[in-house]
């Protein structure tokens, strides 16, 4: 439980640093889109953010922390899920970070609706997969 609270605090601190430091919302969907907006100087912060995010993995491994990744190896499922997440977060303008953490943190009703919707859809999806015997 302390790993979850501590990790959540780090995520909140990261979002706070970006907001107080340069006045930007730390949303991963926007960061992802920024990969294709490298000509837009107003988006360059997102590339620096992405580099920091990627560096976290080797840093944690060097510190000797165990970070297992238990994931399906079903290629079709991975591609379908990736497309849905990429398409859905683009048109919904946010994901767990932008809507879930920052949006709810600043009491945005729009982000509450988005967050409740994607959590509910996730719960129904897992329940349906279990019902038909499709699992990781």
């Amino acid at each position: 439980m302390w790993d979850e609270i501590g990790g959540g605090f780090l995520i909140g601190a990261a979002a706070s640093l970006l907001w107080v430091g340069i006045g930007r919302i730390s949303g991963m969907t926007g960061v992802l889109s920024s990969l294709f907006l490298v000509m837009d100087s107003g988006r360059h912060w997102a590339l620096a953010f992405l580099v920091g995010l990627l560096v976290a993995w080797p840093v944690v491994q060097a510190a000797g922390y165990s970070t297992p990744i238990n994931i399906t190896d079903n290629t079709g499922l991975l591609i379908a899920a990736g497309l849905l997440v990429g398409f859905g977060t683009y048109i919904g303008n946010g994901c767990t970070s932008g809507h879930g953490v920052c949006g709810m943190g600043r009491l945005s009703f729009r982000s509450f609706v988005a967050t409740l919707t994607f959590i509910a859809a996730g719960i129904v999806t897992v329940a349906m997969m279990n019902a038909v015997g499709l699992s990781l």
């Binding site: 991963m28 899920a81 497309l83 849905l84 967050t115």
Partner: protein, 140 residues
């Protein structure tokens, strides 16, 4: 500072995702498995993150600009529309299928895990397909 702050923020964000276990798809799917063998611990991740950001966001209201930039960039979209709900629902379905959302998927990239890389490739493709076929949302 223009690049140091976002770099440090990204690093902290990634460390938080890894320490909390949000980067492990099986753990995320167990969190979503409310009607099965539910493991609710990940609520604490979102709870701690939201409360921390809420406090700092409230405190920041006394300032008219951030420390190292000329203005705060608040999201301009306000509408609750079909686009928002349909997008969030599609995202949630994909999230439930595999257990990865964009942040954890990106933070897992340097693990070299083949499944993660396939997912991230499709994630980027989905983002671009939406960009070309639907386009950016405009605030009304």
């Amino acid at each position: 500072m223009k690049y140091v702050i976002p770099f440090l923020s990204g690093l902290l964000f990634g460390l938080g995702l890894l320490v909390s276990g949000m980067n492990d798809p099986q753990k995320v799917r167990a969190f979503l498995d409310v009607f099965g063998s539910w493991q609710p611990e990940l609520i604490a991740v979102m709870g701690a993150a939201v409360v921390t950001f809420f406090i700092v966001f409230q405190l920041s209201k006394s300032r008219n600009k951030p420390l190292f930039a000329s203005s705060f960039h608040l999201p301009s979209l306000q509408d609750i529309d079909l686009r928002l709900v349909a997008g969030a629902a599609m995202f949630g379905i994909g999230w439930g299928l595999v257990g990865l959302c964009p942040g954890p998927a990106l933070v897992d990239v340097l693990s070299g895990n083949e499944s993660v890389l396939i997912f991230v490739g499709a994630l980027i493709a989905g983002n671009r397909l939406a960009h070309y076929f639907v386009g950016p949302a405009k605030s009304s």
